[in-house]
Symmetry: C2
DNA sequence: GGCCGCGTCTGACGTCTGTCACGCGCGCCG
DNA sequence: CGGCGCGCGTGACAGACGTCAGACGCGGCC
């Protein structure tokens, strides 16, 4: 019997996935959590074989939870499950040791299949998303440019960003200008949006 | 037997909800769609008693689908199901004739209960969301201010907004200034964010 | 009617932003 | 070593942005 931990913030989706998985003869959902910071504590007591983690959760995102989980329980496989394929997430998930990466757009049948594969030691990655990640390539943004764009995304002024990153205002403007050029946008907000969409943040 | 149409863009969630509902003795999911513009055509052939509509869908949002559906098939009850409670959505959903409004944060058990209630003629609204909608009150933004904020949200320049709304640039700046004042923000983007969060758009 | 409040619209003014040109430090390769 | 590319940082300038004061129409109220 495969023991599964289910981490997903929307209770209704979580419950539906639980009943779905419990219908499988060889799979048993041994614990459910709704927050990122509850994953590791729950896993310590439940000792699951597989952890199914959503990325968008309150209390720390699924990537961070995956990192802590693989460190704390190396025998537990991690499958990341997310709403839409930000190729950037895929790369980050792989870096923290996830064994699988599924998108919720896939048919439900793939879920149980993927769980069985990862306990067998395989890696499972959504094929469309893998193609997108390869097609996208690495980010053209430098470290600082990405930092500045992130800070600018929710409407901070140049002065705010300069303070929070300990930079001169002129420097911040320059980074923003570079990022705007590289993304093909015309304003900082547009740049932040396309960078976000392409997984460059 | 209650005939249900299920509209939800994420295939995995849709499939999970379907199996969940099909486990109920008196409920049968008669058709599934993944796009807003497929709702009415599918409903015409399936003739469901209840349509369960997600709001965020490609091909027209769930609110618009609900409006068309209640016009085309007045006997079909509409239940709107959404990820998180934007109180603004609740009001709009009620305006287009929805009989129920659930959030995916609720436990799964409420779903079947709600479906039975709406076919019995009751209205079902998530209680937390109703409280939030009442606590929020009406938007302080005027029509034009909301228009301009919406247009500014994704990084358009003043000139773009002015063209798309057939206004002078000075006027657009003035609306933005008003909106920034009313939202307590300091930039247009911040204003768009808080307005969005409070359901004022 | 006279008045006030409100939403809508416009132009003018100071500040902030985006762009450009340039300097610095560092790793790399001929 | 000298040059070269690259990321990082700074200052100056045109243009866009946010703010202000004001005009017009409209409905409500004394």
């Amino acid at each position: 019997m495969i023991r599964v931990l289910l981490a997903e913030d929307q209770a209704m989706v979580r419950g539906a996935l639980r009943t779905l998985l419990d219908l499988e003869d060889d799979i048993s959902v041994v614990c459910e959590v709704g927050r990122g910071d509850e994953v590791v504590p729950a896993a310590r007591t439940c000792l699951p074989d597989v952890a199914l983690l959503d990325i968008e959760m309150p209390g720390g995102d699924g990537i961070e939870a995956a990192r802590e989980l693989t460190a704390a329980l190396p025998d537990c496989r991690v499958v990341v499950l997310t709403t839409f394929g930000r190729p950037g997430f895929l790369r980050r998930a792989m870096e923290v040791g996830a064994a699988g990466f599924l998108v919720k757009d896939s048919p439900v049948a793939e879920l149980a299949v993927a769980i069985r594969k990862v306990v067998a030691g395989e890696r499972v990655i959504d094929r469309d998303l893998a193609a997108a990640a390869l097609a996208m390539g690495a980010t053209p943004l430098s470290t600082r440019e990405a930092d500045v764009l992130r800070a600018a995304a929710d409407g901070a002024t140049v002065a705010d960003i300069a303070r929070s990153l300990y930079l001169s205002e002129g420097t911040v403007r320059n980074y923003l200008s570079n990022a705007i050029g590289k993304t093909g946008a015309r304003t900082r907000v547009e740049a932040a949006r396309v960078a976000e969409d392409k997984g460059w943040l």
